[in-house]
Each structure stands twice: as structure tokens, then as C-alpha cells.
Amino acid sequence: MSNKRPGSPKEEFKVRIKIKDGVYKESLKSKNSEQNSSINLPNHPISTVDPRKNVSTPDSSGNSNEIEPISDPVLAAQQDVKAGLVPRSARLEFFKDDDSYDILAMPRRDPVSGKFGKGDYTYLKLKKDHSSRPLWICPGSANIILEAFSPIAEQAIDFLIAISEPVSRPINLHEYKLTPYSLYAAVSVGLETKDILDVLNRLSKVPIPDDVVKAIKQCTVSYGKVKQVLKHNRYFVESSHADILQRLLRDPIISSSRLIEPSDKNSTSKTNDSSGLVKFSAPTSKELFIAGKHINSIETPSELKTDQLTEESKISNEHKAIDIQIEAEMDAADEDNEDEEVHAFEILPTQIEVVKKRCNELDFPMLEEYDFRNDTINPNLNIDLKPITTIRPYQEKSLSKMFGNGRARSGIIVLPCGAGKTLVGITAACTIKKSVLCLCTSSVSVMQWKQQFLQWSTIKEHQIAVFTSDQKERFSGDAGIVISTFSMVANTRKRSYEAQKMMDFLHSREWGFLLLDEVHVVPANMFRRVVTSIAAHTKLGLTATLVREDDKIDDLNFLIGPKLYEANWIDLALKGHIATVQCAEVWCDMTPEFYREYLRETSRRRLLLYVMNPRKFQICQYLIWFHQNRGDKIIVFVDNVYALKAYAQKLKLPYIYGGTSQQERMRILHQFQHNPMLNTIFLSKVGDTSIDLPEATCLIQVSSHYGSRRQEAQRLGRILRAKRRADIGFNAYFYSLVSKDTLEMFYSTKRQQFLVDQGYSFKVITHLDAMDDFEDLIYKDKQSQIDLLHTVLMANDNASTLEDEDMMREDSNVKNEVSGRSKIVIKKQGATIQSLSGADNMAYMEYSDGIASRSKLAGLSSRKGVGSAGMSMNKPSSSNEERHPLFKKQFNTKK
């Protein structure tokens, strides 16, 4: 249970109980039996889960987390089951802001103390040799500040990446933050509480503050202790601490799920102790060979190594000692348990989800590990990297986190776009050598993945199957690779016969490896459906940006696994793995006419006005001209389809948006790649992810999706893989055009935050001097500007809504197979199409929920008529699915 809130200084702590009328009542509870409270649930029926964070709970059971004191233990347990997809403590705020810290109690030491509020940590005593140690730790917020110019910074960064979330990583000073998730991730890659505290203390200029120590202990004490292992096709709950297993077995739900074989004569089990636990020897990474990894010298047993080093450190200077020590401990972390035994009990395969949930509730979240080398049931896939394929150091590092103890861990690897995420995925597949299900976001990237598999690995074409709306193949042989999209697999509506058969096939078998591309873009519930319906032993999520505007990122941690590795963008850029980018924000003055209208208009049409600002047109035109002359290949992003067309048509350049047919897309992309005469293309949101254009070296963003940090990063990613990146002095360019004095300015600052924290800097360009000399400037005279203004004002209302085009094509395909009821998926993408056809208005938003859903049904019946022949251009004209973007989120979360 989570009622031990971290960081509480007192022996008493507050529990928030929601009374029926929604009023919170604070009650004090003494902190008795802290250890047992996690197990003996019925004794502590009060939960302190923050209702705000309760995102995983379906609406129907929305209140289940604010449990009123219930005397019936069974009822309480049931309610917890509903809630429990993630461990309790992970849902908590890491540190309380107020309770633990009484500002008035702190002595006011000098006149400037007041300026820091709670942030005055001068009471922390510096260690004597603090200058050779690279970091500070803030009490309270658990922020860590690192001197990246310290000689041992590199080791420190490796360590910090493992235990904390990077907050900002510019050149000289980095900031990291310890969170329950990050600590969970640290534990799951094998670091133990002691290691974390030791190394942290050694690196820190100040002693680790008590509350941080306490929090680290709290978050790591139960995490990572229990693992769910699939061995010989039997599910085991494994732990090196027998007492924890005993405790879990005392739980009624878990013990009822236990598979008890009266005559356990399995050859792998050595002994059965009194409690009936099975003992195995702990897993090791010996003999494991990550594909493509450079073979290291044989490692000495870690215990010995560490001992030697401690001796050495006394002699050699402090500095070096710290350095080596950290490395040793980082290495050792994985192999610490080498000689130990682990205990396990088996559970029923059918009950696996239940046990998993239960463990989360008991605050012993299970880590998933797959002992793929001992899996004899699932057939091996004959796959390996081609001999010519080499992986880069950071790719190797990320994979070594994944395969640290010889088994495959589930988790997420975060690499910037263009840094070779695909290769990491393929290498992991080559290491596991079992059947792979690979899911990505669009059918374009499905084809790209297939092509990459063929390029880097020895897999044969007949072993790769593609499952999209167009193609429904199966691989030959008993093991193989299936590549599909999230929407295809998550679709719960009725499918065509073929698709259904394919789905049955996917559901029916066990997958050794589930590879999830671009995990951050997938809606959380779609995700959950995929993850729970596919039986996969290992899940690996790949992404460039682990940020979402909707906090759902936390769910990923538990749906897939902890973040295993996160690369530093600037660092990779400096080492030449990704292109160096010059970012600029170009301020475009609003012409007086446009600005006058802007001030008059409602928020919706304002967007169109600031996107269609003639100055923006001119600057866009000038930048294109300028960079074409430099020999750059340019991508222009315009989110708004109306504006996209207007821009592209005015400048006489090709464009791709959700409605562009597949053939057309391919044709344009091909031309862009190979035709020296075509150097610029316009893309809508569909180009944000997965369209791979290594030729592009310059990017101009005309309009964008509000304040989405992720989109900004994704778009930047389009030019990070620039072919010419290795050239000396090569720079890629990223321009963001912003209409001055409009909302765009505000969004723009928000959007850039992620990249700024990664160390990128946006130069503000207020005026392009040379532009006035440019002769062919469009909209040069006032009359044409006013004409443009009239066109914009005449434009349909819907033109101003930002289109949600991601994956539209794929989904329109999925939709074509639909004959049943609507689900969220449709609702989301449907928006685009209707607004393009201009057939709707949004007045329904003001209706009550009931009416809205009724009209939704009506709309669906009209959609039925759309045959499967019509692909993307054939739009259902139902008006009811239309949502204003601002309401969309609200709506989606409701369902």
C-alpha cells in the first residue's frame, strides 16, 4: 500500500480520504507496521492514491481509488484490482512539497536567503574534496546538478541516466531528477539500493540529503525484487529474496493463482524448501552474445574486482578511484547476484495478468524477463546481423542494458530520430532469435521496417510478413517476423475475413519479441489493448521523445517497462552520429490588416489568420529560395491543410497530406529524393514521423500543433539523419515561422522547451535584411495582401481547425473494414476527413453528452455506406465526429 508517502519527516503521516460528497478529509494515521502494511491489505483499507493521477482507471470505476473505509476485505481487494495496473507508489508525488519542510523553522541566515524560498541549501556542508566531485543534490526536489565539464562526468552521466530522468542537458551543467519511475528503471537494470546510494554519495559534492536517501530506499526497496520469468513456457514469479515470495503467497489472490504441482520433478529445480519454493541459480550474462557487439575481454568475477578496486582507491588518488569505482559498480550491478540463488514459484498462465496487477497493488511490481535461451518451446528464428553491420557505441550500450543478465528485459529505449533506433530494434531481434511482432505507426513505416530488416539482417524475405490493410501475409515456417501497425492490431471492431484470420493468428501464438516503434504517439488505450492482447515475452519500445502533453507517458513505464536508456542529443551530434542543426525562430510581423482581423476574430479563425499572414508567406518563399540556391533539400511543414494547399499552390510546389494517395505520395517522395529540379516539398502532419528523407537538410515549419513539444522534436528529427551530416562544417537548418504578437509566440516557446532542454538553442530572427531586395516576392503590394485576407475570411470555418491527420490513411483503411459500432479510433481520425469535405459544423459540442452520442450513432450509419473501394479521398460526410481540437482530448479521455 502506498500510505507511506516518501519524504515524510514525522512518524505520522496524513491520509486523504474522499468523503462521498467529494470533500477531502485529512486524517492522521500512525505509521505502524510499515513493512507489513503492504501485504495485509485488509487492515489498511485506506488508499492515498492521488485521484488526479488515476488515469489508468476506466471511467466507470473512476472513484475506486478514493476508497471509503470499507470493512469488507474482499470488497476492498476487488476495488483495488480495478485500479491496479501500476504499482501504488509510482502514482505518488515523489516528494511532498510542503509538509516535510517548514520554512519558518529554517534560520534566516542572510539577506539573500529569502530569494531562494525553499531552495536555500547552504546548510549542506560541502565535502572537503568537493571540487573533484561533479554533482550537487537538492533536498526536497531530488534534483541533481552535474558539472558536465568534470573529468569524470562521462561516468557520472552513465550512472545518472540509469537512475534518474534527464531534465536538461546543455553543454556545461546538466540537471537530472530522481523520480519513482527512474528508480524503478534503475532497479530493473540490476542496480541495488546500496549501489545507488554509494555511487551517488561518491559523486556528490554534498552528502546526500536525508530525505533523498529515504526516498531512494523507499522506491527501491520493493521494486525489482520480484520478477516474472517465462521459462520453458512456464510462468514463474522469481525473487532472490525468499521472504518476499512468502509474503506474496500470503495474499489470497496470488496464492490462488499459484500452480502447485504435487510432484514437482522438473529437472531444473534443484531443491524445494519447506515453503515449496523452487530454487534456481541466478541468471548470468555469460555466454550471451549480443549480436553485433564487439567482443570484450573476459570479465573477472565482479566481487573480486570491486574488492581490488577498493584497495586501489586508497592508494591512488581519490579522483581516479571514484572514476573506476563507478564503472566497476555499474558493471557489477548486473552481475551482483551471480553466485546467489533465486527462488521462484510457478503461476497459472491464465492468471498472469491478475498476479501482475496484484503485485503492483502490493507495491512489488514485477519485472518481466524472458529467458529466451532456455525457451525450447518457441521455435528459434534463424536471424542474425549481416557481417557488415556494425552498431554504434551508444546502440550497444542501450542493448547491454536490455540484455544485462543474459535474459531479455522489457523496456523503452529513447534515441533521437536518425540515431538508428531501427537498428537497435533489429539487433535486439537478432539477439533473441524468436518470432517477432513489430508494430509501427503507419503503413509507410511498415514498409520501411521490412526493408531495414532485409538490409541489416540475414532474414529471408519469405520470413517477413506484412499485415496492413493492403497486405495480409503470413510468413512461412514456424517462426518469423510480422510487421504491422498499431491501429490494425488494436482495432476491436469487426474486420474483414482475412484480417480476422490474421488477427487470430497473431493472438494464437506466443511472440518472443514485441517491438513497438514510436511508442509515444500511440493513444494509451489503444496501446493497452495491443499490449494485453498479444502474448509476448519481451517488449521493447522505441521512441525519440518520451514526452506527451497528456502525462500518459507514465503508463508506458508499466505497460511496456522502464526506460532502459536515453541518449543525449547534443552529445550524439557532437560525435557526428546525427546532424548538427541550427535552429531559428523567425518572427513574421502581422500585416496591419491581418492583425486587425486577428484581434476581432474568435480563437478558431485566428489560427488561420496567423498562419496565412502574408509576411509569413514571403519569409517562407524567401527561405526556400535562399536554401535552394545553397543546394539544400527543403521540407516545409504546414499542419493546417487549408494553409498547406494555399502555400503549396501559391509557390507551385508539391504537397502531401493525409488525403494524398499512396501512389501519389511515393511519386512525390521519389521525385524529391532523386530529381535535382525538385528541392522542396510541403508536408502536413503526416510527415511528422516515419517518413524517412535523408536528403532533406533544411526544414521550415509554417504552422504546427499548438504547444506540442513532441511534434517539434519529431520534426527536427526529420533532418537529423541528413545524408551529408558527416561533412565537416555541415549544418542542417530548422526554421520555425512565428507570427508576431499572436498566440503562436506563446506556443512556440512551449514547443521549444524539450529541445532547449536537450541543449539546442533557438536563435530569434526578427528581420531578414536581404529579403527586401528579393524581387519575386509574393504578396508584395497591399492589394494582394488584402485579397488574401478576404480569401482567408471567406474560407470555411473548418479550414481553421488543425487537422489530426496522423495515421489517417491507415485508419481510413481500417475503417473500411468496419461494419460495427464506433470506437475511439474512428472518432479521432474521422475529424480530418469530414472537415476537409467541409460538411460539418461544431455546434453539437454544446449539446449534452447524451445527444452527442446519439448523433454519433446517426453519423455512423451514414458511414456504413462508404465502401472499401474508396480509400483516402472518399470521405464519409458525417458531421458528428467533428471535434474542436481543444475538446478532443477531453472527449477521448472520457470514453
Binding site: D110, P111, V112, S113, K115, F116, G119, D120, Y121, T122, L124, K125, L126, K128, D129, H130, S131, S132, W136, C138, N143, I145, E147, F149, S150, P151, S168, P170, I171, N172, L173, E175, K205, V206, V756, D757, G759, Y760, S761, F762, K763, V764, T766
Partner: protein, 425 residues
Amino acid sequence: MADQNQSESEESHFQITILEFLEKLPEQLTNRLYRKPTSCLAVFSGDRENFELLNDMHYNSTEETEEIDDYANEKWESVLHFMVGTSEKKDHPNKSVLQLLRKSGLVTNSNGENQISSKGFQFLLQDICSQIWIILLQYLNMQEDGESDIVSVLGLFFQLGSLEFGRKYRVQNMTDLENRVFKDLTELGFIYKLKDGSHSFIPTRLVSILTGASNTSIRATIAMLNSRNNSKNNQNILSNSTQYSEVDVKDSGFIILETNYRLYAYTDSILQISIMSLFTQMVYRFPNMVVGSITRDSIRRALSKGINADQIVTYLTMHAHPQVREKVPPVPITVSDQIRLWELEKNRINPTLSFLYHEFNRQQDFDTVHKYALQLDVVLWVDEKRRTIVIKAEGHEPVKEFVKRRMSSKSSNSSIGNTSTANHK
């Protein structure tokens, strides 16, 4: 100051410094000096001797000089602290110093609170030598307002300047004015008065700046002031000289500004922290480092005090940490640009002096005036519905005449307001 050759005689140092000093004096002051050649001579020749060397005893031992240094430093810093608003009430400088700061415009008074002005911030950006000169010049200026005999004040400065640090002197036959100046200088930390009740005193190191006695002594003074700033709280920083970080801090920069607008400053100097907090949102503070964020709000707060963007950038550049000093420029361009842009944001309103005409009784009256004003091309803004018109300043007289004439002919009454309107750029 005093860039002369060491080999030159003590005398020439002195004279050149005086010349430089005189150049800095406001013109009317020097004019007055030169108009009275006798007193001028008196100043330079030093025929009046106000200070008597008491004995040959030198205060050379560290404990003794340290006490004097402490005193000088404390006094001097209390002035600076007062300016940035971090001094406690009891540590406020005395009245005449306060008056000096206010009169010189280094500090402004808004709503009864003393606030640092743009000039004051500029002052803080200077090195200590210049600061002392500025203060003394301002002091002279203030004396002039007060009808005092500026010549004798100047004379006293020079006499003081010729005194030697660490020696004991006694005051003798001073005029009232000189007594007052002497007291003020004590308050500013130039003079350390012995507490034994006698009229004896010891000049502090600050005095050496007064005359630029020699480069070494000036350097000693600066070092004294700087090191105090940094080491007061943490002696161990200095005692422990190590490879890379804080070592060079004390006589070089300490600020690292990152492209994400985070400011990291390796300092524990209360003065520096409070200067930075003028334009930075402070976040964390460790014994040897502070973390802050430069935000639009924090910069705007500074701008509203009259501190300008260039001053802030100069400060950040001047105090850049050795780690970033190699880079050109040490302050990320994006950040310095942004600070300037934030400043520009404030200057988007162009005031135009103009006059508001409203409450025309009849539409017809309004129309005629409007038409007339249009002819003169002096209409700045007009709202026909509300019968309101704004006339540029240069058109005010003729339009007023025109309205008056009409008013006298018909009994229309239109009131004329006086306003200054704003133009969106």
C-alpha cells in the same frame, strides 16, 4: 587608473593621478578651482597640514591589517548592499551617505522604498577603482550644491591620499567642513578611527586608490575587496585549491549561463547573489553555487527598475566562468538576444504628444472640426461615432482657435482634454 611605469617616481604618480582626477571633475568645478589660484596652489602644495604622523609604528602584522581591512570592506560593502537592497536596517549607511547615493541618482526612491536605478546598476558593473572614483566625484558634486568650499574638500582628499596605509595619524586643526568630510570618509571606509578616544586614525587601503599611489598597492586593495566577497562564508574553498572549478573563481568569473536560460554561479558572495537576483529568478542555493533562471518576468522586473539589457549582458559577460570564457561570446547568443528582445518589447509604444477633443454637442460641429483638422493633416486618431478626435500637438493651436471661433459664433461647447496617446508600431 595609474598605468604608469613603476620606475617613475612616487611624485609623478601622484601628480598624474591628480590630473586625471581633475579631468573627471565637472567643468564648473574646475573653473572654480582655477579662478582661485591661491587656493588651488594651497591644494597642491599641501601647505596646510591636517594630519600628523604620530609615530613610526607600522601596522604590518596580519591581525592588525586584517582588522582594518575588515572595517574598510564592511563599510564599503554596506554601501553596495544598500544599493541592491540586501542590507539589514541596522547596517544601513548613515544619513550623509544615503543622501549621497540618492542625490547622485544611484538609488531612486519609489513609494518610500530605496531602489537601485539604472545608473546604480551601471555603477555596480564597474570595477572597484572606478566605483570609488565615482563615489568621490559624486561627493564633490554634492558639496558644491551645499555651498561648501569645494577647494578645501578637494584639498583634504589629496592630503588623505598622500598618507600611508598602516600608519597612525592624528587629526589637527580642521575646520568644521573638513571635520564633516572627514566623518563621511570614515563612514565610507576610507579611514579607520582608533577606538582609544584619541583623535588618531589609520587610513585604509581604499585611500591608496584615491591617489593611485602605486599599481601594487591598488592591486592589493582590489584583491582585498574581492577576496572578502568570496571567502567570508567558506574559508575552505580557498584553502583547498584544486583542479578545475572554483579555483580561479575569486579573481575571475563565476557565471555559467546555459542555452536553456539557466544561470549557474559559483559564488557565495551575498552581494553578487543579490546583484544577480535583480534580473534572475533564483532557484537553488548551495554553499558554493547558486542556480537561477533567466525568465521574461525576471528580466522585465529588472527593466522596470531602469536597468537595461546591455548592462545585464555586460555583467554576465564580465563575470563569465573560466569554463565558458574561452567561448566567444561567453553568454549564449540566443540568451543575450532574447534579453534584448525582451527589452525591445517594452519599447513598442511610441508616445506622441497630442490633444483630445471630445463631447462635441452636434455631429455637425464635429464634422467641421474633423474636416479642418484633416486639411491641416494633424489628425492622429478619430472615432466619429463617439465624436472624439485626437489632434497632434503641432495642430493643437490652430484647431483650438478654430473651435473657439466656432464656439463664439454658435454656442457649441466642446471640451478639450489634454492627453498623450500611444501609437502601435
